[in-house]
Amino acid sequence: MTYDIIIVGGGIQGVATAYELAKRGAGKILLLEKTFLTGGSTGSCAAGIRAQFGSPFNVKLMARSLEIFENMAKELECDNDYLELWQGGYLVLAYSEAEFEGLKRNVEVQHTYGLKTNVLSVEEVKKAFPRVNVEGVYGATYHDRDGHADPFHVTFAYAEAGKRLGVEIREWTPVDTLLTENGKITGVRLQDGSSVYAERVLVCAGAWTTSLLKTVGIDLPLWGEKHEILITEPWERLLGPMVISFSRGYYIQQRPHGSFIMGIPPEDPRHWYRPDEFDFSSSIDFLLRMSSEATNVLPFLKGVNVVRQWAGLYEMTPDHHHAIGPLEDISGLWVAAGGSGHGFMFGPVMAEQLSKWMMGEPMDIDLRPLSPDRFKKGALVIEPAVVG
């Protein structure tokens, strides 16, 4: 079987890019997923979307991504209830004077790109968000278009829209090896031994990307880092914004569905390159640390029940930015992975811009600085506003 483009990976990145490519007339597209759509990092993520970053690059990208989320229901022919789009803002709390100054610098960058982020004093936080415990807080920033979208439904909506445009999706179809001939990609061999062929292959396999690229001798410094999350029973709306602290690491948000979803990074993060090392077990350590932090910041949570916890992988790169673009060493091989904890929220804009790049159209936001070959050249991209 021969296709124009084979995409490996059925998370937000792969599925959204399949749709965007189909929309731009990229020809016959096949998407291969090892398990089911959202079966990897997309489906275990915390579902937050925010433009409150610190580097101009990320702010620009996320400003556009928020726009795409806001218009997604129309674009993908579904509705905002299905997408569980909720824009209750992100309330970023500062726990020292220095941290507050840093957040204010980020806000200046955000203002440059047209975002209306507010800087709040402690008094203003207390007034606007009376349920938040401001003990130890020096100030905060708040951007009201940040919020939440359901990673499952967003991915499924892209998949359905892609299928309507002719994208073929095969689940439960793990890829074993990338195939090359004379330095050019020719397709992929599946784990069942059969092969599918295409002139271009795009790998969007999250933390599984590294081992796939290794099958053609490419070393990408991209690893999986285990992070844990929990979720509660649903309640009536009690909390509008995502409450987050970069220095303490926690983030807590009430979903449109009513449940509270929250996480806190591991104290001693473990890194894995090989899928056979990936560990998705849940720990009591996380559960207790999270409970302690959550009931401290939002004391009303004490009476709320935890119903489930799970673990997923951040797909990390040395500078916490995506590795996205063509690989110099093998023509026709592209990669889009390494969201470093932000893959879901960046997914829509990365898909849009990447599809333009792949189709030879001018990009609105130049992704070339995020080329996967930047690591061997030492051209890293720096972002100050991240958790963990």
Binding site: T35, F36, L37, T38, G39, G43, F152, H153, F156, W172, I231, T232, E233, H257, S282, L287, L288, R289, S291, S292, A294, T295, L301, K302, G303, V304, N305, V306, V307, R308, Q309, W310
Partner: protein, 93 residues
């Protein structure tokens, strides 16, 4: 029997009609139904609905239950809901 009146998932108010429709739309495994309908994500953690859903999948696909587990069975803790106040107390022991 009206499948609109048969509740499969009490936590999320999902009926047999919803489940059948979702399976027809291609959400044809426990893992996908869960992510599409939220079935099994409520306080019961799937203890009420899981077998009911698997039986329906089995009947529609004509496969035995044992053939429906496409990946390792994932049960996520805690087994029963726990209030934060109990956990927070535990954390400060």
């Amino acid at each position: 029997m009206d499948d609109n009146k048969v509740i499969i998932c009490r936590c999320e108010d999902i009926t047999l009609h919803d489940v059948r429709g979702a399976i027809e739309d291609g959400y044809d495994s426990w893992d996908k139904l869960k992510r599409y309908l939220r079935i099994g994500m409520g306080p019961c953690g799937g203890k009420t609905c899981r077998l009911l859903v698997l039986r329906e999948l089995s009947a529609i696909k004509g496969k035995p239950l044992s053939a429906l587990y496409l990946r390792e069975n994932v049960i996520r803790p805690p087994l029963r809901s726990i209030p934060f106040k109990a956990l927070e107390k535990e954390a400060h022991l």
